[in-house]
Symmetry: C2
Subunit: 304 residues, 2 copies
């Protein structure tokens, strides 16, 4: 049941109205794999520099994440810094230093080639396809992308999309990729590019799941305080893919449960900076929040 | 089971990316009462000028809305014109002519004084209270308001809020009224001002219901084309209050059903300009959309 993820591993410096943190563990593959590790065996492909703190590697190991694909290269680890206003919806990027991530070429250890599920986090679509080329026969392939690749590498992106079953993007990315403002039309257009399942992440407004002709709407969990939204989307993807990889079931009920587990995991991440909340998370808390999502959304017709 | 509404009746000129309409029937009390009339006996308090077209009065009568409280005054009817961009979230007001609405003082016909439920649409909070003073013993009082009164008449607004059971506002209004950006905190703060039930309307993102300590999140119905969002919020309120007035039940399950009926009614309104979609609406279509909301939101845990 191994779930493979390729993406960034970095050190984040983040300021929100509720505090700040410097050089904390971050990166799409980090958030994703940590969330997924609560559900299934997870393996990571990525690169760090020689300055990557040992404590972070120990933490990932403590989650039983397979780090055979985590390369260490001469130089510094990827760094990002950003700040959020009260709206907490979109980060203002202050600095990005790709460092060793700039020359990253994913090479999969032999043991990864039989991965059953693959998540291609937001990296160059050519690299996403290089990863796919190295996996023998995955049962499930999902990917993310971003505005930079939609605008800059549209042809490679379309070739990649033709090879994935599930695409997870935010609303702005869905609009840019499809050329449609309306999200229902945007999702339909993206389904025409390959992915039978399109998930549109809307941050504080939750997520929409388009699976064939069906639509499912899940809210975000209403929290009184959101300390740091960094990583929420990748954590969502990790919970979603982790659940599916373990269940090995792509039926509509299973996909909906996966969306709720993803939403639950994301709701924990934003309760603290970096991965601090996930580090302290228990299985009981995850199940309790799944139940809380049922209370949050359930209604019944009046029986007559 | 009479539900009384006080608010505006006007002639709207609206342009959206999907078309335009000139001097069409509009106004908060119009959308509200039309939506409510599908659920319960509805009575309207408002004012129009001598130029108010007879066809509009006939339409409201065809919905069996009690028009004893609809005054005709010398002068012109309230007019509003606005336009929407592709985002369709907020209208840009081009012109507002209050006309006879400027001197509006609500005087209730004797037959209205025993109204069982009251909805105070968005008008001057002093006028909202004048209406309440004329109703003997309503079982349920709900209100709307807007940024203009929050900023301009905060003291009157707070006196009014102390007298209502349910407040329906949009997210921006909730933030302005409470001084809290986070919507959970905003709703808690507003509950402290009087209304035990606070409903935050989020347009395309649905609605949040805060009832005591409980929270319910309902999505908006995902539509491929939204022709004109004008009146969606008042239609939502009409479906919500119409259902509750008929059910005479403020339990949590009943409030949740009311939110879904309100959301269903709003989803029809935006499918056409003015009240055109509501004019063609059937009871079966309403029930079908209620069922569609169940399909849109339902998920089940895996039974083990």
């Amino acid at each position: 049941m191994t779930l493979l993820v390729v993406g960034s591993i970095g050190l984040d410096t983040v300021r929100t109205p509720f505090g700040d943190v410097a050089e904390a563990l971050g990166g799409s593959a980090t958030y994703f794999s940590t969330a997924a590790s609560f559900f299934t065996d997870t393996a990571l492909v990525g690169v760090v520099g020689e300055d990557f703190p040992a404590e972070h590697r120990l933490f990932l190991k403590s989650r039983e994440i397979d780090l055979a694909g985590l390369m260490t290269r001469p130089g510094r680890t990827f760094r990002w810094s950003g700040s959020y206003g009260y709206q907490l919806n979109e980060a203002q990027t202050l600095e990005t230093h790709l460092n060793v991530f700039e020359e990253f070429r994913p090479v999969l250890p032999e043991t990864y080639r039989k991965a059953e599920a693959v998540f291609l986090a937001n990296i160059d679509p050519d690299l996403q396809m290089e990863v796919l080329d190295q996996v023998e026969n995955p049962w499930l392939v999902a990917s993310d992308t971003m505005n930079f690749w939609i605008a800059g590498k549209p042809d490679a992106l379309k070739r990649m999309l033709a090879r994935v079953r599930v695409l997870l993007v935010n609303d702005g990315e869905a609009r840019q990729l499809s050329g449609e403002y309306n999200l229902v039309r945007a999702a339909r257009a993206i389904q025409g590019m390959g992915p039978a399942v399109v998930i549109i992440k809307r941050g504080e407004y939750g997520a929409l799941l388009f699976n064939g002709k069906s639509v499912f709407a899940a809210p975000a969990y209403p929290l009184e305080t959101i300390y740091d939204p960094t990583g929420a989307g990748d954590t969502f993807a990790g919970g979603f893919m982790g659940y599916l990889s373990n269940a090995r079931d792509l039926s509509e009920p299973s996909l909906r449960r996966a969306i709720i587990y993803g939403s639950a995991m994301a709701s924990f991440t934003v309760e603290a900076f970096s991965l601090d909340r996930l580090k302290a998370l228990s299985y009981d808390e995850i199940e309790d929040r799944f139940t809380a999502f049922q209370s949050l959304t359930a209604f019944e017709p009046l029986l007559v």
